[in-house]
């Protein structure tokens, strides 16, 4: 059973992902900001983080950098409605980049690939 950390400022996205991936058999913690995410990661171990880029308080890319400095072992999937960030080299330290879609299969498959079924 893998522990997933979802970081997205959209309430419904957090609920969707939590419900979906819980059903998939993962333990899911969903937070709304980078600050909350770092606090959560400091307190417990996660197997993978799914991080949105357009957050309210801080840019997801800043959060990505912080996580890589403090928790380099934690794989991070960037998950954004914007596909344009793919060409931004700041995103290249992430382990994967999945564009948001109503079809959650690509995200699900990537998670399975990275943490195992």
């Amino acid at each position: 059973m893998s522990r997933l950390l979802i970081i997205d400022d959209e309430d419904h996205i957090r609920k969707l992902y939590k419900d979906y991936f819980t059903r998939e058999g993962h333990q899911v913690v969903a937070v709304a900001s980078g600050h909350e995410a770092l606090e959560a990661a400091a307190g417990q171990k996660f197997d993978l983080a799914i991080l949105d880029i357009e957050l309210e308080e801080t840019s997801g890319l800043e959060v990505l950098k912080d996580f890589k400095e403090r928790h380099p072992e934690l794989p991070i999937i960037l998950n954004s409605a914007y596909s344009t960030y793919k060409s931004d080299f700041h995103t290249w330290i992430a382990d994967a980049y999945i564009v948001k879609s109503s079809d959650l299969q690509p995200l699900r498959n990537k998670i399975r690939e990275m943490v195992g079924a």
Binding site: I13, L16, R23, A81, Y82, V99, S101, S102
Partner: protein, 596 residues
């Protein structure tokens, strides 16, 4: 006094005249009623040609007349009858054979009783002043010609008109009065003279006709020069054919090159020692005597005026050549001005073309900039829509996989399907907006079509035969955003391919049609597939944009924003073709400022 009292009447007269006129600059003489000189002063003696006054005393007027031939002898009788005889500025010769111009007045000389006893004559040698007067008149005449010609020359900047006016001035009777005139101009590289235009009769018969006609008109030089119809009368310029296309290298020694190098007019006679080239020139012009005047402007040789009197055979004088040279000096300004005008007109035309191109490119840049703004706006909107769509579709999926009654599953499937469809639309719009950020630039259209065609197979949902590609041999360039144009072309190709049956194949070609670059998407289809192809194409590319696919609308607007056009074409009985047209790029655009 006593001496006076003892004098004879004649003696008293002579004494009186001596006292009055001995020192007079006017020549004064007195002849008696028989015509014998009783008195003359030194001035009169000089005019008549006596070495000493005494030689004149007792001379007969008839003897003097035979030498001077001034009509005095014939008039003598009339004078004695009381008439006055006078001649003004009369040319005659004195006893020594010297030519002089005289003013002569002779009147009856009366004694105290009133009886005419002789003839008193007054002679004035006006040779010098007459000569000066003649020179002045000549100068006035020359100035008048120059003034009239200058006025006519200033009325036009057209080189051909200028040359015709010049030659009319040279040959008109009211002008310089030569029979024929030829005009040669130095070419641009300055190494040869080229025959341009000639005026004058080709034969004595023709001369008679032309001069008779002109004589009847009785026009002044100005009127003649202003007479447009006379200038345009082509029969006046039939002589031009004798020099048109004639090129004389200035490196060869000839009378023409000598005139140019000396910068002064020359009088050429066939009897002079002439170079071979000079002889050739005279032979070609069929003349034995001509005047050549170089036309020089600002130190630069412009050409020469050549004139002769071949018809009348009148010898060309030094003054004729001087006058022709003065005339040539006047005309250099007009020739330079007309050349400058031609250069300016050519530059103005070039600037107009460039200005038009700039205006077109400016419009295009504005259009493309608008496209970029639209692209950014749509990108922002599309991304904002993604999150809600993810939620809608994601929960619908969850509900479906959660189980539940069949009707809920059906509704949820519909929600999911429409969500996916909306996401596809977003993909198309986002692809377009991504393309908007690329710089506009010159694009090789053949390469663009080929590259786009290569993308096609990977984009098609079903297997289809790869398209046949036939690009034009010549390079075809367009200006625009290459990503946007590739996107647009790909959309057209995709739409055309996806709706067709497997046995159809696309044929892509490019060509140049006037100033437009064209891409044609043609179809190779079996006979029984044709109706479907026609129906599908007309549906997709129909005029009603409300029924057109979004991708076709977006692609079509991209083409239009690039100044192009698209549609379907083809005869009634053949498969329609999709055409995409863009303005051909010929260079001269500046790059816009926006980029990624």
């Amino acid at each position: 006094m006593l001496e006076h009292a003892t004098m004879t009447p004649a003696g008293r007269t002579v004494a009186l005249l001596r006292a009055q006129f001995d020192d007079s600059p006017l020549g004064v003489f007195l002849a008696d009623s028989h015509g014998f000189i009783e008195y003359l002063n030194s001035s009169a003696a000089a005019v008549i040609g006596f070495d000493r006054i005494e030689e004149g005393y007792g001379s007969s007027l008839y003897d003097i007349e035979s030498a001077m031939n001034c009509g005095l002898a014939d008039a003598f009788g009339y004078i004695l009858d009381g008439s006055i005889f006078q001649k003004k500025e009369y040319g005659c010769t004195n006893r020594h054979g010297h030519y002089a111009i005289l003013n002569l007045i002779c009147s009856p000389y009366r004694e105290e009783s009133g009886e005419i006893i002789g003839v008193l004559g007054i002679m004035q040698d006006v040779t010098d002043s007459s000569k000066r007067k003649a020179e002045l008149e000549e100068a006035i005449f020359e100035l008048s010609i120059m003034s009239q010609v200058s006025e006519a020359l200033s009325s036009t900047a057209d080189l051909e008109e200028v040359l015709k006016i010049i030659l009319t001035g040279v040959t008109a009777n009211q002008g310089l009065g030569f029979n024929r005139a030829f005009l040669f101009l130095v070419n641009e590289s300055g190494d040869q003279l080229e025959g341009k235009i000639a005026i004058g009769p080709g034969s004595p018969e023709e001369a008679g006709q032309i001069w008779a006609r002109l004589s009847k008109q009785q026009k002044t030089l100005k009127e003649l020069l202003d007479d447009y119809s006379e200038r345009e009368n082509q029969s006046n310029y039939s002589l031009t054919s004798s020099i048109a296309g004639w090129k004389i290298p200035l490196s060869e020694t000839s009378i023409f090159s000598e005139a140019l190098s000396s910068g002064a007019g020359i009088n050429v006679d066939a009897h002079q020692e002439l170079s071979e080239k000079s002889v050739e020139i005279l032979q070609r012009l069929s003349t034995s005597n001509l005047a050549i005047a170089p036309i020089v402007g600002k130190g630069k040789n412009l050409g020469i005026i050549v004139a002769d009197n071949r018809i009348t055979g009148k010898k060309i004088s030094v003054s004729d050549v001087e006058l022709l040279q003065t005339f040539a000096n006047h005309t250099s300004v007009a020739i330079e001005r007309s050349r400058l005008y031609d250069n300016l007109a050519a530059h103005a035309a070039e600037l107009e073309v460039i200005n038009r191109q700039l205006a077109e490119s400016q419009e295009q840049i504005i259009r493309v900039e608008k496209m970029s703004v639209i692209g950014e706006l749509t990108s922002s909107i599309a991304h904002e829509l993604r999150n809600p769509l993810t939620v809608i579709g994601g929960f619908a999926n969850l509900m479906i996989t959660s189980g539940g009654n069949e009707s809920c599953a059906e509704y949820l499937n519909i929600i999911l399907s429409e969500t996916k469809r909306t996401e596809n639309v977003l993909h198309q719009v986002l692809d377009f907006s991504r393309a908007s950020r690329t710089k506009t630039q010159e694009i090789d259209f053949n390469q663009l079509v080929t590259r786009t065609a290569e993308l096609l197979p990977s984009k098609l949902k079903h297997r289809s035969k790869p398209p046949l590609i036939k690009v034009d041999n010549q390079p075809l360039a367009v200006w625009g955003n290459p990503d946007q144009l590739q996107h647009a072309l790909l959309q057209f190709m995709l739409v055309a391919s996806e709706e067709l049956t497997d046995d159809c194949r696309l044929e892509l070609s490019t060509c140049l049609n006037e100033n437009a670059v064209r891409s044609i998407i043609g179809f190779i289809a079996a006979e029984d597939s044709r109706p479907k192809v026609i129906k599908v194409l007309k549906q997709i590319f129909g005029n009603n944009t409300g029924t057109q696919k979004l991708s076709v609308i977006v692609a079509g607007e991209t083409i239009r924003y690039h100044g192009g056009n698209y549609g379907i074409e083809g005869a009634q009985d053949e498969l329609p073709r999709i055409f995409i047209e863009l303005p051909q790029y010929k260079g001269g655009y500046n790059e816009p400022t926006s980029d990624n």
